[in-house]
């Protein structure tokens, strides 16, 4: 029982971080219909930013989100305006290759600057835990990052539902042409959406930094995970990505215990294929063909 509870709790907590990565990707896909293969690499840039702020200025990784979020937003906006914008109407595989190329440029530039060493960011609380009882413990940094994730997600819902810009973004996601006809500045919305997506990925990178490690190629694993989460939740659905992230966290955790840790990623991909086959619109997405 303790094993079950422990796996469930850590699955949910790590799922929170996954969710943040997934939400970023789903926003980008929703508004631009571009699958961003550089998403993990953008997250990696966020991690290095956190690392720099921590080592040079002593800013705590959780606090540094306040700085890295706007910086990553600008970085995302820049990527959209200079690169992605040019391929919005191109065929899918050109968009894919462009983002793969951008990812390669990012990870290899970082490698030239920081070398390919593993960077470890140790805070006073990196290894601390809270005992819940029954032999079950919760990692303090993971719990904090989960709470921050929840706060950011709530703020994002509010932004998308209540503000004019948020509504314009949703309108663009729903029907780009119609939104344009309605007088919405579609290209501006795209920049904002990509900026937000990058900021969320960067934030996820910052939040995971105290319990993880950083190296230039760290992005690849997270890119694939983000794809799974996004499809699972329904491409373009923020609520779906949140649920998808947590679901993947739990699935990984549970299959590591009850199947085998070697096969846990296979379980995740099989789940992914099953969703694609039987509910291609995802758990929360509206059917859109």
């Amino acid at each position: 029982m303790a094993v079950f509870l422990q796996s469930l709790i850590s699955g949910i907590l790590i799922g929170g971080v996954y969710a943040l990565i997934g939400i970023g990707l789903t926003l980008i896909f929703g508004v631009m219909r571009v699958i961003n293969f550089a998403h993990g690499d953008i997250m990696m840039v966020g991690m290095y930013l956190t690392y720099l702020l921590f080592t040079l200025m002593g800013i705590d990784p959780f606090v540094s989100v306040l700085i890295s979020f706007p910086l990553m937003f600008l970085f995302g906006g820049f990527l959209q305006k200079t690169f992605i914008n040019r391929v919005l109407n191109a065929v899918a595989q050109n968009q894919i290759l462009l983002t793969i190329g951008l990812g390669l440029v990012m990870s290899n530039t970082v490698m030239l600057i920081f070398t390919s060493d593993y960077k470890i960011l140790t805070t006073s609380y990196s290894s601390s835990t809270i005992q819940v009882g029954g032999g079950v413990s919760v990692s303090t940094p993971l719990l904090i990052s989960f709470l921050i994730t929840a706060a950011i997600t709530a703020a994002l819902y509010w932004f998308l539902l209540k503000t004019d810009t948020g509504q314009a973004i949703r309108a663009t996601a729903q029907d780009r042409d119609a939104a344009q006809l309605m007088g919405i500045n579609v290209s501006r919305m795209s920049i904002i959406a990509f900026g937000l997506g990058a900021a969320l990925a960067g934030t996820a990178g910052a939040l995971i930094s105290p319990t993880y490690y950083i190296f230039p190629q760290v992005g690849a694993t997270f890119t694939l995970k983000a794809f799974v989460i996004t499809v699972l939740g329904g491409m373009g659905s923020v609520v779906g990505a949140t649920l998808g992230g947590i679901l993947i966290g739990i699935t990984e955790s549970m299959s590591a215990v009850y199947i085998s840790s070697g096969w846990k990623d296979v379980v995740v991909f099989v789940l992914f294929l099953l969703v694609l086959l039987f509910k291609p619109s995802g758990l929360m997405g509206k059917s859109r063909t």
Partner: protein, 381 residues
């Protein structure tokens, strides 16, 4: 034209003292293996400097294999047939070394592999292929022997990265514990770079093993130990194989790394000649601690360059001299011997170390020990 090149070649071969000694290097300088590959490059650069001081001018031909076997083959073809090097040091990974070894044999180019772990590489009877480091089976046997000599463990759990290094080390470890009568209670491969091992560790904890044997080549080691503490995994000993457990970063995490037993090919406090000095100079030059890869690569390059130089750059003579020679340097005594089915394998002494007060201290074998081992593993605070 061809005659000209031939004449030029003869001229070059006849004047070895005037020419810089040409040695090839194949290494993973970019791609996923680059973090470790960098240590090898650094070790070789330091060797190049030291050789220069001794009056041996090297002309190194650097080849990046990006961690892919077919690319390392391109590199070897180029070095052997176009660059005409006297010998090659590298590559880093087992996959690349395997692919390159056969070519070295074919072109009769002496190849000295500094740090690849796969046993089979030097078990194919290849005459031109030499290896500096101890292969994967040594990790398992030295760690388990250490635990068995310190206590009476009856059960063991394996948690290892599902890479070539992780699986082959664990495979030999399982065979070894079977002989020792230790029971395997958990066998958990994990994908390198995962963020969450808590569920796996909770499962291992429920089996209550005496020994926890972990294999991690990278910073996963820190995550594994942090999360072991979180879930309260409490064996008699944590045994860590692979570079992840032997980094300064790992030792610095004192809350979780104290008393972990690991084994390594090399440390800078061992009494091998020049080891300490190498460590200090490496740190000044590159601003970080050397790993064993760096030391292996350094020693390999020194041996290869000196041997090639005295053989006048002749490949066959270099090969014979490598086979016959004996060295004593920062890697201790080096001799490329044939034993237990190995050919040209340096029967390297692995060092078992434990982190005590935040430092790596050699605890076994006794003649190199700097401290006495702490056993069993103290209760988590």
């Amino acid at each position: 034209m061809r005659k000209h090149i031939l004449a030029l070649g003869v001229a070059l071969a006849l004047s070895p003292n005037l020419m810089a000694q040409k040695i090839g290097v194949i290494n993973s300088m970019s791609g996923p293996e680059a973090p470790i590959g960098e240590n090898i490059s650094n070790g070789i650069k330091l060797a190049e400097e030291d050789l220069k001081k001794k009056g041996i001018n090297l002309q190194l031909v650097w080849e990046d294999d990006t961690g892919k076997p077919q690319i390392s083959m391109s590199a070897m073809e180029k070095l052997a047939t176009r660059d005409n090097v006297a010998g090659v040091v590298g590559p880093y990974t087992s996959a690349c070394s395997n692919a390159v070894a056969k070519l070295a044999e074919k072109y009769r180019v002496p190849l000295l592999i500094p740090a690849a772990a796969k046993e089979e590489i030097t078990r194919q009877g290849l005459k031109y292929v030499f290896r500096m480091n101890a292969p994967a089976d040594k990790y398992a046997s030295s760690l388990i022997d250490a635990a068995a000599s310190l206590g009476k463990p009856k059960s063991i759990a394996f948690i290892y990265e599902n890479t070539d290094f992780g699986t082959s080390t664990t495979k030999t470890a399982k065979e070894y514990v079977a002989k020792k009568g230790i029971q395997v209670v958990a066998d958990e491969p994990y994908p390198k770079g995962a963020a969450d091992y808590r569920s796996t560790l909770a499962k291992v904890k429920s089996k209550n093993p005496d020994l926890v044997f972990m294999v991690s080549y990278v910073a996963d080691a820190i995550l594994l130990m942090r999360q072991s503490k979180e879930v309260g995994l409490q064996p008699q000993a944590f045994l860590g194989a692979g570079a992840g457990f032997t980094t300064v970063d790992f030792a610095k995490e004192r809350a979780i790394s104290e008393s972990v037993i690991s084994c390594t090919q090399w440390t800078d406090d061992v009494s091998w000649p020049g080891a300490k000095d190498f460590g200090a100079r490496y740190k000044t030059k590159f601003g970080k601690e050397p790993t064993y890869h760096a030391a292996c690569a350094y020693a390999s390059m020194i041996i290869m360059a000196e041997t090639a130089k005295s053989a006048g750059g002749d490949r066959a003579k270099t090969r014979d001299a490598l086979k016959a020679g004996k060295w004593n340097g920062i890697m201790g005594e080096v001799k490329f011997a044939d034993y237990d089915g190995f050919t040209n394998q340096n029967n390297h002494q692995m060092l078992v170390q434990q982190i005590l007060s935040g430092n790596y201290e050699t605890v076994l074998p006794v003649q190199f020990a700097t401290k006495k081992a702490v056993y069993p593993f103290p209760k988590w605070k």
